[in-house]
Symmetry: C2
Subunit: 310 residues, 2 copies
């Protein structure tokens, strides 16, 4: 069994909020841990309106230092502090964030009860965090400011187990099954040696969730999102505003869908929606014409990322 | 006729938000202008959920530099800038705010399209802004950090006009009524001189709205809120948490009500409610036992401040 992975959208607007879309923020939960991608203003309110709790927050990733992606961070840190959490927190962000955090804490005279380590994102793409059964990569996107995409990659999972093959080889149902599933060779009482490969399919790829906003459509996004189970992509604009998208370093719904198709993603979630759009349908239809498995993100929407069965 | 005055609560929590109470912020509208008192995180979202628009925002008042009262300000300024507003904006706040604003704008590389003037609140109580028909006073409260209360005071309004007195003196209904109501002496064709005092009652007091949070119960609040039409007061805690209130520089519901009673206020609104309180009833009942005309503030609640008829 693989750990459930769930994405919780906390803010799905861009630039300025609308009455129903707060500013960019998204959580990814796996097992008892969760990660926060961007921290737009209001993120702590949305967290309180969601099932997320402070205890499992492992790290925060800030794509870039535009106000709409980062101004919820100081309040978030202060509220975590007021909840008396003491676990160290890592924040990955472009250069400049440390100064913002330090100034706000000084002016507001706050001393956090937990250590915050700000790690600067560099130009190169790199694995920036490794955990038990996954890693998180960062890669530069194409925006008006230095901006990174984040790629959650689960480790490969063992292949499917075929009990009928095990039975045929004389392995009794019970603890030995688990040994084989865990990758260990088993010797039966009659001396027969059974290897995991004898009873299991090939390793299965781990799940991949790609978070790419803010960005123009670009080949880097395709390259790093190849085969993603869920691609979350900048969709600031709809049809007819391609020029605005290009000038401001953003994408349209159709462009996001083209990236998803080129990457062979399984599912696309449209986010960073301009406050000018009251209705979802035009953006969503525009994306679905190119990539049918598209969904519109919404504040507090939760999406399960299911393992793909081989 | 007097201009309508309306208070719009934008954030009624304190310290940390709850799912339904954002952080401190309150608007006061009079005619086409409005004023913002405190700017907790999420204030720009609540403004978008309210009938307020950027165009009439005249000035912002920050009571003190604790994070819950000020961290919505940078995002608010940026969003006003993105709406291409160009009117100058004054922000009244304790020393330190300029550094916070400057650092955030620099790190996020934002140049606002309108001038922001930060005016430092000093220790003394003073009139800090005068407009057409009103003034706003600031006075120090008692909190853990330097903190000011704000007092919106309408000018005295002319007394009630009695048309029957005017008729008895031979003033014909029409433009001369308006002259008298405007305070001008009128000479009739037959040489009779009529003075405003002949046909009008005494001047009526202007409306007063007092905004007092965060604070311990103190005599300064009473002194500056005397006869207030609406007193908005710190109510972080309820019965049984008097010690916590004292230690943290806050008030309980009963203490807020005692201040309202001592000041002879007409109405009390309880705000800055701790996130620990799910239900309003215990706090409200505790206040009403002391001061019956108490209401519980709620995010997006609007209260009219009616003129008191003499």
């Amino acid at each position: 069994m693989s750990e459930p992975i769930e994405v919780v959208f906390l803010g799905t607007g861009g630039g300025v909020p609308s009455a129903r879309r707060f500013l960019p923020a998204m959580a990814l939960r796996r097992g008892g841990e969760w990660f926060l991608f961007d921290a737009g203003e209001g993120v702590q309110m949305r967290i309180r309106q969601s099932p997320l709790g402070w205890a499992g927050l492992r790290a925060i990733f800030i794509s870039h230092l535009h106000g709409d992606h980062v101004l919820g961070l100081p309040g978030l840190l202060m509220s975590i502090g007021m909840a008396k959490m003491e676990a160290p927190l890592e924040v990955f962000a472009p250069r400049g964030l440390q100064r913002l955090i330090d100034t706000v804490l000084q002016v507001c005279r706050v001393q956090l009860p937990f250590p915050v380590t700000v790690r600067c994102l560099e130009n190169e793409s790199a694995t920036i965090l490794r955990g038990s059964g996954y890693r998180i990569d960062a890669a530069p996107l194409r925006h008006r400011a230095p901006c990174w995409g984040f790629f959650f990659r689960e480790d490969e999972r063992p292949g499917r187990f075929f009990p009928e093959k095990a039975q045929a080889l004389g392995v009794p149902a019970g603890p030995l099954y688990k040994e084989l599933q865990s990758g260990r060779v088993v010797e039966l009482p009659d001396g027969v040696v059974v290897r995991p490969a004898d009873v299991m399919g090939p390793d299965r790829p781990g799940r991949v969730v790609a978070y790419c906003t803010d960005t123009l459509p670009c080949r880097e996004t395709v390259q790093y999102s190849l085969g993603a189970d869920l691609l979350i992509h900048d969709t600031t604009f709809g049809e007819g505003l391609e020029d605005e998208a290009r000038i401001s370093g953003h994408s349209t719904a159709a462009q996001a869908a083209e990236i998803a198709r080129a990457a062979g993603a399984r599912r696309l979630a449209l986010t960073h929606i301009s406050a000018r759009y009251d209705a979802d349908a035009p953006l969503l239809e525009s994306a679905r014409q190119v990539f049918p498995n598209s969904v519109m993100a919404a504040d507090l929407l939760r999406l399960s990322v299911d393992a793909q069965e081989a």
